[in-house]
């Protein structure tokens, strides 16, 4: 062993073959796995980056939603998929996480809406049955302008009626009750469906209902502030001057309800989404509402009537020169003290007038209306009660020119509203005619006639009895004898009594007829006078006068309207019966029930009215019969007779028809609605 001289001698280097640089050692083959790795990672990264955005939607339940399968569709194109289905923190709804494709995700803003598409069966029809096979899916709607980020949405349970709010306008309709309205019912314009109603709900104070109506473009351009909406569901039955009318828009609206709108007045301005409208129950109400869309406050005036006017109530229409211009808004009593210190009461009626309807510019204020009315009053405009309708039983307040009125002016200082001078109520036409008839009778110079007749007869008798007459040859005597015989016959025949009796009968009948009409004391007085004066009647003159009477009566009967009235009524009734029979067979039971109730009301109104009719027609008939007898008592053969008789017969036919109608209605008001 030798000692290794380590301490001082340098050590040996440790040699080993130098490794080649790494890049020469690595073979090209390593590219292969590297390539594979790169591709794999690249694909993985791309699919991760393309993954899309996660949004959350809360639904009531998750029926039909399968994670990983259920798609989210937009315009029927799949743009996402449901990833997970979980719960909201309060467990009240199901929170569905959906991954949306990136290219559409940024359009989803806070205004986007989502809903589930499932098979739907409803009154509007059956839809989306294809989802039974393909499965429920989530559909969404959003527009191309993102407004605000949102990641959590509330999902709707069924598709909104108007998925695309840009293509139309939404308005709010307010009504007292929902009537026949059903969610999804159509909105019609001239019979064409232009929209749908949705979201039927009670208003905040539970005093009415509010429903949203969505009107599609371009029909939403027709909506102005002057547009009126009314409920066309069901059937409306109405009785008016032209007869009973039945209005059914379409069978669809019968079943599912519907709303129609139209613009009756010009000058409305365009509306925005959410504009509120009032929903009228019928088209007449919509048309008739004067004030519904007025801009300005109606002008109000006071009317003071000395006599109590029965039948005026709030809402009674006010007509200006025949055009509906306002309504009565208040009725009260005003106690006045007159010059002698006596207290008397006046009926105080406040009317509200629409300036537009008076012919003034839209938006005119009360002062301009007052100025206008002052000018009218100066030329004879007065306010009075009038009756319109068949029997003159519907009351209105009329502002019209009245002939022969004393001068009057409006009292502008009256509180609370200026007054318009009033005048006596107008009488009914029928009454006027009848009154006119008897006025003429009254105006007959019967007394003079009778006096001269008596004188003539006296003269004849004196002539016949005088000495000179004896000296006249026998033919003259014979002539005088004839005259005398004639007079005796007449006296014997009791013509005068008959006439008196006839006129008494006429008086009775006429008085009972005319007791219907207002203010006919004068007429009855005239009748009395006529009856008294009919004690001695010179026939020929009376005949001439009666001609005149007949002319009047004929004019009254011959007017077109009266002739056609019963015919029109029965024809309409037949039509209605047939239609209703159809409806009943068609089974629109629910609506018909409501309709029936309405019709029943109408029928009882008819019944009420017709209660009077039989009595009326009976009286008319007896009047006619009596008049006939009167005429017949004057002999058979005269032309006067024949004419009178013809006229009388016409009158009787008319009243008979009227009577049969009244009897039928009275017998069974339901029958004419339901069919026999």
């Amino acid at each position: 062993m030798t000692d290794t001289p380590e301490q001082n001698a340098p050590a040996e280097l440790v040699t080993s073959p130098a490794p080649n640089p790494i890049w020469t050692r690595l073979s090209v083959i390593w590219l292969v796995p590297l390539l594979a790795l790169a591709i794999t990672l690249g694909v993985a990264w791309k699919s991760y980056a393309d993954r899309g955005v996660l949004i959350e939607i809360d639904f009531a339940d998750a029926t039909g939603l399968h994670p990983g399968e259920t798609p989210l569709k937009f315009r029927e194109v799949e743009v996402g998929k449901v990833e997970t289905v979980g719960f909201s923190p309060d467990l009240k709804s199901v929170r569905v996480k959906i991954r949306v494709d990136k290219d559409v995700a940024h359009f989803i803003d806070s205004e986007a809406r989502f809903w589930l598409v499932r098979p739907q069966v409803s009154a509007q029809g059956i839809s989306r049955l294809d989802t039974v096979l393909s499965g429920t899916f989530v559909e969404g709607y959003w527009d191309a302008e993102p407004k605000g980020e949102a990641k959590l949405f509330n999902g709707l349970d069924k598709p909104p009626i108007t998925p695309d709010p840009t293509k139309g306008t939404r308005v709010e309709l307010r009504a007292e009750d929902a009537g026949g309205l059903v969610e999804g019912a159509p909105v019609l314009f001239r019979g064409v469906t232009v929209g749908r109603i949705q979201n039927l709900r009670l208003n905040a104070s539970d005093s009415g209902v509010i429903v949203d109506a969505f009107i599609d473009a371009p029909h939403d351009k027709r909506l102005t502030t002057a547009t009126r909406f009314w409920d066309t569901s069901g059937v409306s039955v109405s009785l008016g001057p032209s007869g009973v009318s039945l209005d059914v828009r379409s069978l669809a609206s019968l079943v599912q309800g519907g709303i129609e709108f139209d613009t009756f007045a010009t000058g409305g301005s365009f509306i925005q989404n959410g504009f509120p409208f009032r929903l009228y129950p019928t088209v007449e109400a919509a048309r008739g509402s004067i004030f519904g869309n007025d801009i300005a406050e109606p002008a109000r005036y006071t009317l003071l009537f000395d006599d109590a006017v029965q039948g005026i109530e709030r809402g009674t229409k006010v007509q200006f020169r025949g055009v509906e211009a306002g309504e009565v808004s208040d009725i009260s009593i005003k106690v006045e003290t007159d010059a002698q210190g006596n207290r008397f009461a006046q009926q105080q009626i406040v009317i509200a007038l629409s300036p537009e309807r008076l012919g003034l510019a839209r938006g005119s204020d009360a002062q301009s209306v007052t100025d206008f009315l002052e000018g009218e009053v100066a030329t004879g405009l007065r306010a009075r009660v009038a009756g319109v309708g068949i029997l003159g039983t519907t009351l209105i307040i009329e502002l019209t020119d009245v002939p022969d009125v004393p001068n009057a002016t409006m009292n502008l200082t009256n509180q609370p509203y200026p007054t318009i001078p009033t005048t006596r109520p107008k009488d009914n036409d029928l009454a006027t005619s009848a009154q006119g008839v008897f006025k003429r009778i009254d105006a007959l110079p019967i007394e003079e006639l009778m006096n001269s007749a008596i004188r003539a007869l006296d003269g004849v008798a004196a002539v016949a009895e005088s000495e000179e007459t004896r000296a006249v040859p026998g033919e003259l005597a014979g002539l005088l004898e004839q005259l005398r015989t004639l007079t005796e016959e007449l006296n014997k025949g009791g013509a005068a009594e008959k006439t008196l009796a006839a006129i008494d009968g006429v008086t009775e009948a006429a008085s009972s007829v005319l007791v219907e009409f207002d203010g006919l004391n004068e007429t009855l007085d005239s009748l009395d006078k006529a009856a008294q004066a009919a004690a001695e009647i010179p026939m020929a003159d009376i005949g001439a006068k009666v001609d005149g009477i007949l002319g009047d009566i004929r004019a009254m009967l011959g007017s077109e309207g009266a002739d056609r009235l019963p015919k029109a009524l029965s024809a309409t009734l037949e039509q209605s019966a047939a239609l209703l029979e159809e409806l009943r067979a068609g089974g629109a039971a629910e609506k018909l029930n409501a309709t029936l109730v309405a019709a029943q009301d109408a029928a009882s109104a008819i019944g009420d009215a017709s209660d009077r009719l039989p009595a009326l027609t009976a009286k008319l008939e007896s009047l006619v019969t009596t008049a006939e007898k009167l005429v017949a008592s004057y002999g058979e053969r005269s032309a006067f007779n024949a004419e009178v008789l013809d006229t009388m017969r016409e009158m009787r036919r008319a009243t008979a028809a009227f009577g049969s109608l009244a009897r039928m209605i009275e017998r069974n008001p339901r029958a004419f609605i339901l069919g026999r």
Binding site: V132, L133, S134, G135
Partner: protein, 205 residues
């Protein structure tokens, strides 16, 4: 020509790596595989696996392989039934493949293995090549019978379209897979060296 076999030389060759070891060595020193002498004891394993495979092949054909649920109703198909349906539908190519992979190949495998196992007793030194080829074919092709199992799996996984169409695997899938696996094992247990010589001479030098 006569060659010297390891057995004749009193050695045992490793079937895995080819290294030779002295007779009686249990394990190959290089690759750790068990060293089997070339005798017929291994045949028992072959028969055992073969029988098991055959037993499982019967329900594989009798029970349905695929359950199809469409709008019109349910349908169950066995392997043969499926082939018939495919032919009826006109997809002859697919029908041929399924028929081949699920019926022809397994049955021929059974037959081939049985034949090989039976014929191994005779000493065929000269004309053994066909047998070897047969063996190689059997061993190669055996695993391809699994195609049908995979087809069923893919169809069941893919065709899940709700009520319109959905496919589910039937019990035949499991037993067919088992049958294929067992025949594979059977073929693997077969020592091809047995083709070249008869059963071990229990006596002799």
């Amino acid at each position: 020509m006569t060659v010297l076999t390891a057995r004749d030389a009193g050695l045992v060759g490793c079937t895995r790596c080819g290294r030779v070891w002295p007779e009686g060595t249990a394990e190959c020193g290089r690759c750790g595989a068990r060293l089997h002498p070339v005798d017929g004891r291994g045949l028992q394993r072959v028969w055992a696996w073969w029988l098991a495979g055959l037993i499982f092949y019967i329900p594989a054909n009798l029970t349905p392989m695929l359950r199809t649920a469409t709008l019109t109703g349910h349908q169950e198909n066995t392997i043969l039934g499926g082939v018939v349906e495919l032919v009826a539908h006109g997809s002859y190519f697919v029908a041929a493949i399924v028929f081949l992979a699920s019926i022809v190949i397994p049955i021929s495998k059974f037959l081939a293995i049985a034949y090989l196992a039976l014929s191994v007793g005779n000493e065929r030194r000269a004309g053994a090549h066909p047998h070897l080829h047969l063996y190689e074919v059997v061993e190669f092709i055996g695993r391809w019978s699994m195609i049908d199992v995979f087809v069923v799996a893919i169809l069941s996984a893919l065709v899940q379209l709700g009520t319109v169409a959905s496919i589910h695997p039937g019990p035949a899938a499991a037993s067919f897979a088992l049958s294929v696996a067992l025949t594979m094992l059977s073929a693997q247990s077969f020592d091809p060296r047995l083709i070249w010589r008869g059963p071990a001479r229990t006596t002799g030098p």
